[in-house]
């Protein structure tokens, strides 16, 4: 689904955000991306979302080289992508409904479908009663649910989340993470960047660890358990 091949990213300032990063994410996989702040988690997600281009190496989306994506391909690709941000990136001059409906409006769906799908998505993330509210009146956790609803409303193949629980307390964080696990169970490939190691460990999913732009570990709990079992 997503493959990084010796990817490097150096900014104009000369800062090397990513260096020689290679990994492979299978369709339907759930992967956490962790590391200290500034390790390159956000940069890596931005490269997957084609918000930025790597300065070295290749990124393959569905075996297609991302560099070859034309001006027309990028919007189409992004419509198959759900993006969740730490700061939610909601439009505060519009209602919750309008925020969540945005990807569907962009896709040009008929109004009746949009209504149905937005309502179903809001129910699924647990804020069906806030449909007509303005995002500014919602709590941080609720705003993040709106952000997640917007990301998944068009049933994307890939869901990318950058520190989705960064501003939330531990209980809320766990609820939000549980949402991502649920979406993963319905077949969505999910990549979540988080520095909340306690939570990441508890969820027992594959973890990519970045350190100063380098991938220093790719931990798969199942393999680990199997290895322990054989040894034990």
């Amino acid at each position: 689904m997503i493959r990084f091949d010796c990817v490097g990213k150096r900014f104009f300032s000369g800062f090397q955000a990513l260096e020689d990063v290679s990994f492979d994410v299978q369709p339907g996989e759930m992967v956490f991306l962790t590391g200290h702040s500034g390790a390159g988690k956000s940069t890596l997600l931005k490269l997957i979302a084609l918000m930025d281009r790597p300065t070295r190496g290749n990124i393959f989306i569905d075996s297609q080289p991302a560099q070859r994506f034309s001006k027309h391909d990028v919007p189409a690709y992004r419509r198959s992508l759900g993006l969740v941000f730490q700061d939610h990136r909601l439009l505060f001059d519009r209602s919750v409904f309008d925020n969540v409906a945005l990807p569907l409006i962009v896709a040009g769906l008929p109004h009746a479908h949009i209504e149905k799908q937005v309502q179903a998505t809001l129910e699924r993330v647990g804020i069906a009663d806030k449909t007509r509210a303005s995002p500014i009146t919602l709590s941080g956790g609720e705003q993040q649910r709106v952000g997640i609803a917007r990301a998944v409303v068009s049933r994307p193949k890939i869901l990318l989340a950058d520190e989705p629980t960064g501003n939330l307390d531990p209980d809320l964080s766990e609820e939000i993470m549980q949402l991502f696990l649920d979406f993963n169970k319905t077949g969505t490939t999910v990549l979540v960047a988080s520095h909340d190691l306690r939570l990441v460990r508890k969820l027992e999913k594959r973890v990519l660890v970045l350190d100063h732009g380098r991938l220093i570990d790719d931990f798969r709990p199942e393999e680990h358990r199997n290895a322990e079992f054989k040894r034990g």
Binding site: V106, G108, Q117, R124, D182, K202, R214, D217, E228
Partner: protein, 356 residues
């Protein structure tokens, strides 16, 4: 596929240690209930298969979202609308003034006569020959010959110089040819050329054309018309720049929204469209305001012009904008708005996408 360089993994193994469960913690985690029953999936709604319908829908969305935005903040834009309406109204008024002057000058163009005073040495035979020669010209309606005797009699009748004229021993007046021009000749631009041709005849001493002032006026009007075009073009440019700048400010104010739109998969055309419609509305509303301004001006001036015309015994009435002219003003306004917005939006879109 694991590709983490192991030597670095050693160095920063504290992060890794936190991720890799320690043997004590492992047992607890393994016993946790890991699988929850799958949440209710959202019924997948198929994306619209018809690109044309999707395109139309997105146009509808842009149309209404842009007018909604204008509607929500009408007073912040009032200055802009004022400038735009004036910029559209001024050349329109200039055009209207010219149109009325043209109309007036056409009404004033009576069948005009050219009086050709022949040289004193020309006799009746010479005068008749010239008369016949001019008569054959297509632009001329009729040529009358006035002998010196007829002219003298007329002169005596019209003036009180009878005694003085009687004192003369010979008639000092020359033969006169009165050339009556056809109305078509007068209305077309050929009259002045014809007068020049008549004047060039060797027999003619003086050629007098009583409507010469009218042709000067027409020449001035033609010049004024050209000036109005230049003036109008400059003001059209103003409209373009004002709308372009307004849209540019709007684009800058909504940069976050634009970025979010792009992140959820909107292409440039989709992002640009509401702004183009904004430009369209700016132009359309400004054109309607300009129409109102011009109509109000005409309405205010009509009684005064009517009174003045009547004092000259004329039935002249101030001409307002015709339906066609109003339509042209409206189309120009909206087109300028659209183009101004297109320039601003395209400049914004071609700037590199720079997400934070």
């Amino acid at each position: 596929m694991i590709l983490g360089p192991k030597n670095i993994a050693m160095r920063s193994s504290n992060v890794v240690k936190k991720i890799r469960p320690q043997p004590a913690a492992k047992q607890k985690l393994a016993n946790q209930p890991t699988e929850k029953p799958p949440a209710n999936g959202i019924a997948a709604v198929p994306f619209d298969k018809s690109p044309i319908r999707a395109w139309l829908r997105s146009h509808g969305y842009s149309l209404f979202s842009s007018i909604g935005r204008l509607w929500r903040q009408p007073f912040t834009q009032i200055l802009t609308f004022g400038v735009l309406a004036l910029a559209l109204a001024l050349p329109t008024m200039g055009h209207l003034a010219l149109k009325n002057l043209h109309y007036l000058s056409a009404a004033a163009a009576q069948p005009g006569d050219v009086s050709l005073f022949l040289r004193p040495e020309i006799d009746l035979a010479g005068a008749t020959a010239l008369q016949n020669r001019i008569q054959t010209g297509a632009l001329v309606k009729q040529v009358n010959l006035k002998t010196p005797d007829e002219a003298l009699a007329e002169f005596k009748q019209l003036t009180s110089f009878t005694d003085a004229l009687n004192a003369l021993d010979a008639n000092p007046l020359p033969f006169v040819l009165v050339v009556e021009l056809s109305r078509e000749t007068l209305q077309s631009g050929r009259a002045m050329k014809l007068v020049e041709d008549l004047r060039a005849n060797p027999e003619v001493e003086i050629a007098q054309f009583d409507q010469e002032w009218l042709f000067r006026l027409k020449a001035i009007l033609a010049l004024a018309e050209r000036a109005i075009w230049v003036f109008g073009a400059l003001l059209a440019l103003t409209v373009l720049l004002v709308i372009g700048n307004t849209i540019r400010l709007e684009l800058a104010a909504r940069a976050d929204e634009i970025q979010i739109m792009k992140l959820v998969g909107a292409d440039n055309a989709f992002v640009r469209r509401p702004f183009l419609y904004s430009g369209f509305w700016f132009g359309a509303i400004a054109a309607v305001l300009a129409l109102a301004l011009v109509s109000a001006t005409v309405w205010l001036l009509t009684p005064g012009v009517g009174n003045l015309a009547r004092s000259y015994g004329s039935e002249f009435q101030l001409q307002g904008l015709s339906l066609l002219e109003s339509a042209i003003l409206f189309i120009c306004g909206t087109a300028l708005g659209w183009i101004g917005a297109l320039i601003a939006a395209s400049a914004h879109m071609s700037a590199p996408e720079n997400p934070q």
